[in-house]
């Protein structure tokens, strides 16, 4: 932040995005917020009163509490796994022979190329009761019972990691490109092992990418609908499936809107604090 520009520069730079969002996202969001403040009658529809009843209902109901708990647990878990495998993979990619690098980069993006519906179909074929996983585990003698990860928390986690890890890889990748390789060389020459260099020199400098990646992954998991719905099934409901139910099945939009608003608030609270925490902890990398 060494260039000192006129203080309104940041506002000018963010203006196109902010104005676009204000015009086209602001109104729908406010509409949703207002919607959440009305009550609903199953036969008569949305009422014209004003109430916090929907919020009280969501917050007070153990059913929703459990769903929110599960959702953020899942988001945290998926984020941790994505960091754990996505960051090393980004690192490996950046060290690959250039000829292979772009090919593997594409492969990493692979899961994103096909529709969620088809992707989950792939998983169903893979770890369903008569899927490959089951066949392999039976063939290897891990038991005669078919193994199925469908409709389990584990299956849901794996499938989410699968679609979200590319976001992590690409984010970290973008950050890694910026690092002066000589700072790594310097660390080696001071006796640091590869692991140590990775941990102490490379990763801290790649922190902006890890931060971006984990924000994307966390937020996407917390608001994910399709994968949890299909792989998790209805017993493992998450916030988005709960909102979906209210919108499409009971048509109780105010309640659905309240769920969505609460999700948004929780998400922003978590992400903004995380962002602050990381930016402060690695202050010098972020300047």
């Amino acid at each position: 932040m060494s260039t000192e520009k006129t203080p309104n520069t940041p506002y000018l730079l963010t203006a196109p995005g902010v104005l676009f969002f204000a015009a086209l996202l602001g109104a729908p969001m406010i509409m949703t917020l207002l919607l959440s403040l009305h009550s609903y009658d199953f036969n008569l529809g949305v009422q014209s009163d004003w109430t916090f009843g929907n919020y009280a209902e969501v917050i007070g109901d153990p059913y929703f509490q459990k769903i929110f708990g599960r959702t953020f647990g899942l988001a945290l878990w998926v984020t941790v796994i994505c960091v754990a495998i996505g960051v090393p993979e980004a690192y490996v990619l950046s060290r690959l022979n250039p000829r292979w690098r772009s090919i593997f980069l594409l492969i990493v993006l692979g899961p994103l190329l096909i529709s969620v519906v088809v992707r989950t179909l792939g998983w169903a074929l893979f770890f369903g009761g008569s899927g490959i996983l089951s066949m392999v585990s039976q063939a290897l003698g891990f038991g005669d019972e078919p193994v199925s990860l469908m409709f389990t928390f584990t299956g849901m986690t794996i499938a989410l990691v699968h679609v979200l890890v590319p976001f992590m890889v690409i984010s970290v990748w973008a950050s890694l490109q910026k690092i002066d390789p000589q700072s790594e060389d310097a660390a080696y020459s001071l006796g640091a092992s590869k692991m140590t260099v990775l941990r102490r020199i490379t990763l801290p400098q790649a922190m902006p990418g890890i931060l971006s990646g984990s924000i994307i992954v966390f937020a996407l998991t917390a608001s994910a609908f399709a994968t949890p719905a299909i792989i998790g099934g209805r017993r493992l409901k998450v916030v988005a499936t709960a909102a979906y139910d209210e919108y499409l099945s009971t048509l109780n939009w105010p309640l659905g809107a309240a769920i969505a608003v609460l999700l948004l608030i929780a998400n922003i609270a978590i992400i903004v604090s995380y962002n602050k925490l990381v930016e402060r902890r690695f202050a010098k990398v972020f300047e």
Partner: protein, 264 residues
């Protein structure tokens, strides 16, 4: 010292296998000779590829998706990069707020967004139009473009930009000729994530897309609301193969490496 040890390579192999596993399953299924989903254990067939040709709407929807994704990703990048620079380089009142606002589409279930957009857009006359759908997609993918540009711009040395300025380059020229190339990996990464997210978006588009703007995921979704058949697999296989071919050709002629790696 920039070589990889065996453990790294084994990890990489497992990672790639993990990524490829479900895709390979889908590709395998697309060659089934059965009318329903099954692994082609006793016979390979191209019938489900022929079936694509009998369903021209799939091809049309594919075109729509490509066009929509190109448009949305590009606009998202255009509005995100300046914003990312502002967020990366300045501390200013409202920074957190603006950043949260621009990221918020990530944090709301797409269905809720879809319904809200449908409500609002049909009220302001954007309903059912390509631009309405595109606006929704731009909003949806901007967070990716923003976060990736941010990751690249954060902590970037301003030396080269300063040098360009002293050589007489205007702010915009510095931006275009120096800043953008230097954060290209982030911009390219953000564009690609945006493109792919837009291309793959379903839950929101189900509401915002109209018959004249039906995207491929929406088309597939409508196709399988009642039954599922290997056509979905063959369409996906074609998609996977096409994308890889396209990327390889681009790589051949332009060097993806350059884009992904940036400078030099």
């Amino acid at each position: 010292m920039r070589t990889l040890g065996p453990i790294a390579l084994i990890f990489h192999a497992i990672f790639v296998a993990f990524i490829m596993a479900p895709l390979l399953m889908v590709i395998a299924v697309s060659f089934t000779d059965k009318g329903y989903l099954s692994l082609p254990t006793d016979g390979l067939s191209l019938r489900w590829f022929k079936a694509i040709l009998d369903n021209p709407d799939f091809i049309e929807a594919f075109g729509m998706s490509v066009w929509l994704a190109l448009f949305s990703a590009t606009v998202a990048v255009i509005i995100s990069v300046p914003a990312a620079l502002a967020l990366a380089r300045h501390k200013f009142p409202g920074r957190e707020l603006i950043s949260a606002f621009l990221l918020s589409p990530l944090m709301i279930p797409h269905l809720v967004l879809g319904v809200a957009f449908l409500q609002f857009y049909s009220r302001i006359g954007l309903g059912g139009s390509f631009y309405g759908l595109a606006a929704a997609h731009i909003i949806l993918v901007t967070p990716y473009a923003l976060r990736l540009a941010l990751a690249s711009a954060t902590g970037m040395s301003t030396d080269a930009e300063h040098a360009a300025m002293t050589l007489g380059a205007s702010k915009f020229t510095v931006f275009r000729r120096i800043t953008v190339p230097l954060i290209l990996p982030g911009i390219a990464g953000g564009w690609i994530l945006s493109f792919i997210t837009s291309f793959d978006e379903l839950t929101m588009s189900v509401f915002v897309a109209s018959p004249s703007t039906q995207t491929l995921p929406v088309k597939m979704y409508n196709h399988i609301t009642q039954t599922i058949d290997p056509l979905i697999a063959s369409v996906s296989t074609v998609l996977i193969v096409l994308t890889f071919l396209l990327m390889l050709i681009l790589d051949r002629f332009y060097g993806l490496d350059k884009i992904f790696i940036g400078k030099g």
